[in-house]
């Protein structure tokens, strides 16, 4: 209960700060939409030169992209820890976080949330409905529940990967530029994994399982039953990765000695 009330207090404070600089908020929402459009444009331009991507049509790829946007929006609203090392370890901010009465990871999440990213959920669902209607997909009674489950799994996988990467900072406090690049790798899970070779497919499935935040769960809604096994694995992978991540984080915090002043 305590955590819930803290969360809402931070959320309301956040709204107030954001509304102070309104023009920037508008630009930021606009830039989010632009960002989502860029990837759509990429798909559209590419399909201007080809009709099928190893057996997947343009609308199917667009549908996968729409699905991807939803867990990604949730992830980017709450897990802005890509600059954790610089912001918290190098500048010594972690000392302050550790004196707070709530779990350090939770403290960082609520400090760094960017609620306006949730807008991506709307764009994502809209894109899915558009592509779905083009493909003639129908919505069954269980689809919304599966959707929530898959989205939760995807968001947890994203969160897990980034928390693990952030935890590395506890062991090596030098700067890494890995995190921004990870965002790029996340994009490859949006394409049918059968276009990649074994190594990359393996990496995208088991090591950096971004394929579970795109093509696998979306295959379920597209009725591609050859991928059902992986689709159903999505929530499991989410739980596994978030567990590893929290464990790595807790171990890391124990080792934290502080840097700077």
């Amino acid at each position: 209960m305590f955590y819930v009330s803290i969360f809402f207090q931070y959320a309301s404070q956040y709204m107030k700060t954001r509304l102070t600089y309104r023009s920037d908020l508008v630009v930021e929402l606009f830039s989010d939409i632009l960002f989502q459009a860029v990837n759509l444009i990429f798909i559209l331009v590419v399909f201007g030169h080809t009709t099928l991507l190893s057996g997947w049509s343009r609308e199917e790829i667009i549908f996968i992209y729409g699905f991807f946007l939803v867990p990604y929006a949730i992830f980017s609203s709450f897990f802005n820890i890509w600059d954790f090392n610089e912001r918290y370890i190098v500048k010594g901010e972690m000392d302050r976080v550790l004196t707070r009465p709530i779990h350090s990871l939770f403290q960082i999440i609520i400090e760094r949330m960017e609620l306006e990213s949730m807008f991506g959920v709307i764009t994502g669902v809209a894109i899915m409905f558009y592509a779905g209607s083009q493909l003639g997909l129908t919505v069954s009674w269980y689809d919304p529940f599966m959707f929530i489950l898959m989205v939760a799994g995807g968001a947890l996988i994203y969160a897990g990967i980034f928390i693990i990467l952030a935890s590395i900072s506890f062991w090596s406090d030098s700067r890494t530029d890995i995190m921004p690049m990870m965002y790029n790798i996340g994009n490859y899970g949006r394409y049918p994994v059968d276009i990649y070779n074994q190594v990359i497919r393996y990496v995208l499935t088991w090591i950096l399982p971004f394929a579970f935040v795109g093509v696998y769960p979306a295959a379920f809604f597209l009725g591609r039953d050859e991928w059902y096994f992986y689709a159903f694995l999505t929530p499991v992978m989410g739980l596994v990765f978030i567990t590893i991540a929290v464990f790595a984080w807790n171990e890391g915090v124990k080792r934290y000695r502080g840097a700077g002043n």
Binding site: S172, Y191, Y196
Partner: protein
């Protein structure tokens, strides 16, 4: 003195070099994934818009490696210094603030070119079919073009950074600028892949001077007279962009509002 600033930034980056090796690995996965994606897009086709699959792979690889050189975060640094009020102190120092920022960006870029792009390119060359030109002149033109792309990109970054003086809070604009550059500079897709009407619009924008031109020179997608006119186009943009920077800078200094600090 400006050389000294360049040197210091270079040495600062050198201190953190170990983490760059993991960065190279991630970049290689990145390029690898793009390689397979493009193979799937080409399907059986020999060439799209005059580029073969091998040229396309080379294009992607060089575009990302060149990005390591011209890319920098000085827009965010400037925005932060303005918000923290440090910029007032910087302004009374006996050097040109924008010149200093440019030099820091160059130091960072040179570091990445030597320790990141060069070894990265070798790895990518071993792993994927990439064609390097045997002609010395192609390499020469490429490096000239790369310098121009650094200048244009830095100028755009300076412009975005200075705009913080007017907007006060600038993260949205910085993000929007990044997305626009990724798309319109030709990093994700060669400009020639776009529909003609879009190409016509982009011809009036400075962005293709950043990535499309050096990459096309390197892959020999541009030959003969095209190279000279492309280089000329870059040079023109370098000169044109000086005007808005100077105007904004002079105005900004007059209406400086220090936000705390």
């Amino acid at each position: 003195m400006y050389l000294e600033m360049l040197r210091i930034r270079f040495l600062m980056m050198l201190a953190y070099r170990t983490n760059y090796y993991s960065g190279i690995l991630i970049y290689s996965i990145n390029i690898g994934a793009y390689y397979f994606l493009w193979q799937a897009i080409y399907g059986g086709q020999e060439s799209i818009q005059g580029l073969s699959v091998v040229q396309m792979t080379t294009y992607v690889a060089i575009a990302w490696m060149a990005r390591a050189f011209y890319f920098n975060n000085i827009d965010r640094e400037i925005a932060q210094e303005i918000q923290e009020g440090k910029v007032a102190v910087e302004m009374i120092r006996p050097y040109n603030y924008l010149g200093m920022k440019t030099m820091q960006g160059l130091g960072e870029g040179l570091f990445r070119l030597l320790f990141f792009s060069a070894p990265g390119m070798v790895i990518v060359w071993l792993a994927f079919p990439i064609s390097f030109s045997a002609e010395v002149s192609v390499w020469g033109f490429f490096f000239i073009s790369l310098i121009f792309s650094f200048i244009v990109n830095t100028q755009i970054n300076l412009l975005t950074g200075i705009l913080t003086f007017f907007l006060l809070y600038n993260t949205g604009l910085i993000r929007a600028k990044r997305v626009v550059i990724d798309l319109f500079s030709g990093l994700l897709l060669p400009i020639s892949f776009y529909p003609l009407w879009a190409q016509d619009i982009m011809a009036f924008l400075p962005f293709q001077a950043i990535s499309y031109i050096p990459s096309m020179i390197f892959t020999e997608g541009f030959t003969g007279g095209e190279v000279y006119s492309a280089l000329f186009q870059q040079a023109v943009w370098c000169l044109i962009l000086i005007v808005p920077i100077q105007i904004l800078w002079v105005t900004a200094r007059r209406r400086l509002i220090v936000q705390g600090g």
